[in-house]
Symmetry: C2
Subunit: 381 residues, 2 copies
């Protein structure tokens, strides 16, 4: 069954599963235990930290292992709001993931939050970043790549601007990591990643803190993670995540351009065969795996259901636990109408997705278009 919902979560990579099972059999003890088996877990944990640091291009002490991206965004925003106080300006890109906006809403005063708008292509408006920094913003929050549209943000430039201005950057790289090279992300100060988007298990992730940051305490307990995050370390989960990350960096991201061509071929095929279909942020630099499609007609929930019956799994947008999907704030920020947003589906492939599966997806979309409306906008192949 073609699974086109990789931005929601990925199947566990075989190398990750192998690392997890090996750790559960051999390195399962408590890293804080005083016997040699415990010490060995601590050493392996440090080795895992060094591998992440190597991939990210930063010092190992900046790596903090977490339970995932939502934990990290909440902890970072809590920490930064306490550090900078309730009058400091915090500039947040409007297209951030709900777990970032939720954290901002929880811990920052609405009066201190500057919303950074997006252009029609979904990229943050750079002039507004400059303005916020010139106005003395202490924190700038811009993700690496968007979960709904795949649009890549100019995070390298923003990291440089923040460094020059003495501001802190928070970069949610959850959708970037494992798809594109991580190199350079270490420049971004605070960086958030999660294992289950890159072939690792759920419930584990990592973040980078800035090199100069010494006061972070996410939770208190047994003093783990250099006092930054109490709680017994999930070494098997961490080992699995690191295995998946290294596999992606060492053997997968090299094939990015090939995968990009496959996605582009699909987009051309769709545009040719289905009149009125619109690729969101079509001309922009986007993740090789993600296509957000405004369909010519039909509610996106109906599209998802009809495709599902044809064994094709796509999404309406960001995974949403509310039961009832709220209209996408990302597409709204890009200027799409409520009607267009209701017709938008998200397609997100994986490394294992074949050109044949992309074609099956295209065929299924054309077939469903005809089902949902006896349409004059379907062109025979």
């Amino acid at each position: 069954m073609p699974y086109f919902d990789h931005n929601a979560t990925t199947l566990l990579s075989p190398v990750a599963q192998e690392a997890w099972l090996k750790a559960q059999a051999e390195v399962w003890q408590n890293a804080s235990s005083p016997h040699r088996a415990g010490v060995r877990v601590g050493l392996r944990l440090q080795a895992a930290r060094e591998k992440v640091a190597l991939v990210m291009g930063c010092k190992p002490e900046r790596v903090v292992f977490t339970g995932g991206a939502t934990e990290a965004t909440n902890a970072i925003m809590q920490h930064l709001s306490e550090r900078w106080g309730e009058t400091a300006k915090i500039a947040v890109s409007v297209t951030e993931h709900p777990c970032m906006w939720g954290a901002v809403g929880s811990y920052c005063e609405s009066s201190q939050v500057v919303s950074l708008p997006a252009n029609r292509g979904g990229q943050v408006v750079m002039e507004r970043v400059d303005e916020a920094l010139a106005d003395g913003a202490k924190v700038v929050v811009v993700m690496a790549a968007n979960n709904e549209t795949g649009v890549v943000q100019p995070w390298e430039k923003i990291a440089a601007k923040c460094q020059a201005a003495g501001a802190e950057m928070v970069c949610d790289a959850s959708q970037w990591l494992g798809k594109l090279p991580a190199h350079g992300l270490g420049e971004a100060g605070w960086v958030v990643g999660t294992a289950h988007k890159l072939g690792g298990p759920k419930g584990v992730g990592f973040m980078l803190r800035p090199a100069a940051e010494n006061g972070l305490v996410m939770r208190r307990g047994g003093g783990q993670e250099a006092g930054q995050r109490g709680g017994t370390e999930d070494f098997p989960g961490i080992a699995a995540m690191v295995a998946a990350l290294l596999e992606a960096e060492q053997s997968k991201v090299l094939h990015e351009s090939e995968k990009l061509r496959t996605r582009e071929a699909f987009e051309q095929e769709m545009t040719r065969r289905l009149v009125g279909v619109n690729v969101v942020a079509g001309p922009m630099d986007r993740l090789w795996n993600t296509v957000s499609l405004v369909m010519p007609h039909g509610d996106n929930t109906r599209w998802v259901t009809r495709l599902d019956k044809r064994q094709v799994e796509v999404s309406t947008g960001s995974a949403c636990a509310s039961g009832k999907a709220a209209p996408s704030h990302v597409l709204a920020a890009m200027g799409y109408s409520a009607d267009e947003i209701r017709r938008t589906i998200r397609v997100s492939a994986g490394w294992e997705t074949t050109p044949t599966q992309w074609l099956e997806l295209a065929n299924a979309l054309v077939a469903v278009a005809a089902e949902l409306k006896p349409a004059d906008n379907v062109v025979s192949p």
Copy 2:
């Protein structure tokens, strides 16, 4: 190798591993995804919640899946301090785990915290609980069983007293669950459990919130866990935890009295063979797996090292990530001297520990006693 450090962490139970692997193969999608595979994960998650509720004796909606005990204690104390304000009295048993005291220290004003003393047997002094409640304490924090000594607290009585007084009880049941029947814990209001102490994986746990509690938000994100904890649910981890918990409840806790006799035989053997050894809280009701031993001589770190060389793994006390073990606050609260505390080791067995392994432990202890000091307190067997 006899592993006597189960209170630090347990080996993953085979049923837990099987459940995890099955979920990673079949139920790995995102519970928030709109397609049927996602919906199926959500249904399985709800079934897991109902199983936990059945074991704990509470309604399913009180169960919140977490990343472990430290996350839960931090979230609960943050929530309760916000709810009750900084003048409300919060009574905390002095023998709580560092992750509870760390959370109390982070989120409560020192002026509002009432420390509940322990008697020589390690149990909370009930008169002081009564006093705190009579003084209008809004929250009473008493664990179910202690991680260092195994001492069982009168949590059922305290839960009843709290209910009568209209106070909230917080009960860390991390060391109780999987060792003794969970039945009745649902009466305790806030309850904390973690998978890796009961044969489940690390990085996953659960808590109960009181039935009347509607305002809990541990972290904001995609609205998961009824809005109480944002972040993609780790269903494979949860499935593994629930499998381990059910296995413990259905087939292990029945053997408690047999295991208790084995532990008692070990204690008698030690007392007979090693003059001057002292079982902490010897006469008290303690977990069947835990013995805290004040050795007649020698620093506990030396004991751990010497035993480790004999392939016997024990601990100095609570797992401590500070590198340098701090003296036990639990033993100090029970009236043990600094010198006694330095000589104390913790032994914690598992369900799979055999009487032969207990005997091996006794033999190793006697041998190390002779090594550490050419002693006149070793009696030939």
